[in-house]
């Protein structure tokens, strides 16, 4: 299985993993064959990469998925963005980051 950029995917390829967007919405299930229409749909839902079976993508560049716990911290910071200028929001961000960190590590 290889993760490739959506723009490199084409109709006829089948998904080797569920296609989800940044909000973790499940858009297409693993095993679905891509069509022009579904490629357009994935694009409109903000999907940037998809997983395709190895054999179908030999000449296409592989990309790595972005996740894990450093990404969660970064995510939380980008989510709060300029709201942390407020001291109450800064406190909420600080405490929540600790709780989320603990949750992901005990899981």
């Amino acid at each position: 299985m290889r993760r490739i950029l959506l723009k490199d995917a084409s109709a006829g390829m089948s998904l080797a993993a569920d296609a989800i967007n940044a909000q973790q919405m499940l858009l297409l299930k693993k095993g679905t064959a891509l069509t022009e229409k579904s490629l357009q749909m994935l694009k409109s839902w903000g999907v940037e990469t998809v997983c395709i079976a190895q054999s179908e993508t030999e000449d296409i560049e592989t990309v790595s998925p972005a996740d894990n716990s450093a990404a969660i911290q970064e995510e939380l910071l980008s989510q709060f963005a300029d709201t942390v200028e407020n001291p109450i929001m800064a406190e909420i961000c600080r405490v929540a980051a600790d709780i989320v960190h603990e949750r992901t590590h005990s899981a």
């Binding site: 858009l27 969660i72 939380l76 989510q79 709201t83 929540a96």
Partner: protein, 290 residues
């Protein structure tokens, strides 16, 4: 401020599940101090689906009663009026979230988690400020994003465009809606609340959860849900379809008269409260689908 597009959408939602009449009758009844467990049981047993589901729930492992409960009266005596109403409302609202027509099941589950997380947070905040209607706060928060479900199911293209814009610009779904559509999930929520005859407090909180300063007589309740929404997003409980944190409305914060040192214990309580309620949600899913 009914724009034609919004009106057209509302016309299409005739088949949206409604809160069963029974739920309102039960709410009225529980508010009446003269109602007995038997009166309440009478109303519930008039609704066969609700009766079956309630019995399945109270016999689920979440409650873990040693003996099988076979009558509604017994369930009411064991759990109490408030717990029963809470249970009925939560299962009814869950039905609205679990409409099987839409393929966006994961998005709906995340929105359900977000709503449930907010409901737990609203209760925690309500307790902290010694609000006298904590159960109502739970319901307000559970329903605050109900307008999003409608867009998700009945205006999929609009909803896709809005979530895309929100992600691209890192803005709130609420702001993306205002920019693209001339209506927001709060407007849809207002129409649903009217249609369902929800109490004024619930309707106003749905409408003003992003703008609590405009909520008039229910400014405090809107402030609670506004803060609950922020808590929930900070703790990453579910997702409301966007990633951006709403700015804290400082007037709302002042109205609640909370202290900065209250934040850490409240957030910890939301986290554990949400974990505690998860088996309850699983029980609801089982009861609804069995």
């Amino acid at each position: 401020m009914l724009n034609p597009k919004l009106k057209a959408m509302i016309r299409r939602i005739d088949d949206l599940p409604t809160l069963p009449r029974t739920v309102f009758r039960i709410t009225e009844m529980i508010n009446n101090p003269r109602s007995s467990a038997r009166d309440l049981a009478q109303v519930i047993t008039d609704d066969q689906v609700l009766t079956a589901r309630l019995l399945r729930l109270v016999n689920s492992s979440f409650y873990g009663f040693p003996q099988r409960i076979t009558t509604i009266t017994r369930a009411i005596v064991l759990l109490g009026f408030d717990a029963i109403r809470h249970l009925l409302l939560t299962t009814s609202v869950f039905d609205i979230f679990s409409d099987r027509k839409s393929e966006l099941q994961v998005a709906r589950e995340k929105l359900w988690d977000h709503s449930l997380g907010c409901a737990v947070a609203a209760k925690v905040i309500g307790k902290q400020i010694r609000h006298d209607k904590i159960e109502e706060l739970f319901v307000c928060a559970l329903l605050h994003d109900i307008g999003k479900i409608v867009s998700m199911v009945y205006a999929q293209e609009d909803y896709a465009a809005v979530t895309r814009l929100a992600a691209e610009k890192n803005i709130l779904l609420f702001e993306a809606e205002a920019a693209l559509l001339e209506y927001t999930h709060a407007d849809i929520g207002r129409l649903l609340a009217e249609r369902w005859n929800l109490p004024n407090m619930v309707a106003d909180v749905i409408v003003y959860h992003h703008t609590p300063d405009q909520a008039g007589p229910y400014a405090k309740e809107a402030a609670v849900v506004h803060l609950a929404d922020i808590f929930c997003r900070a703790l990453q409980l579910g997702s409301g379809g966007d990633h951006r944190m709403p700015a804290l409305d400082t007037a709302a914060w002042d109205l609640l008269q909370l202290d900065e040192t209250d934040i850490a214990p409240m957030l910890a309580e939301v986290e554990s409260g949400f974990n505690d309620i998860s088996p309850f949600t699983d029980a609801i899913v089982t009861a609804a689908t069995a």
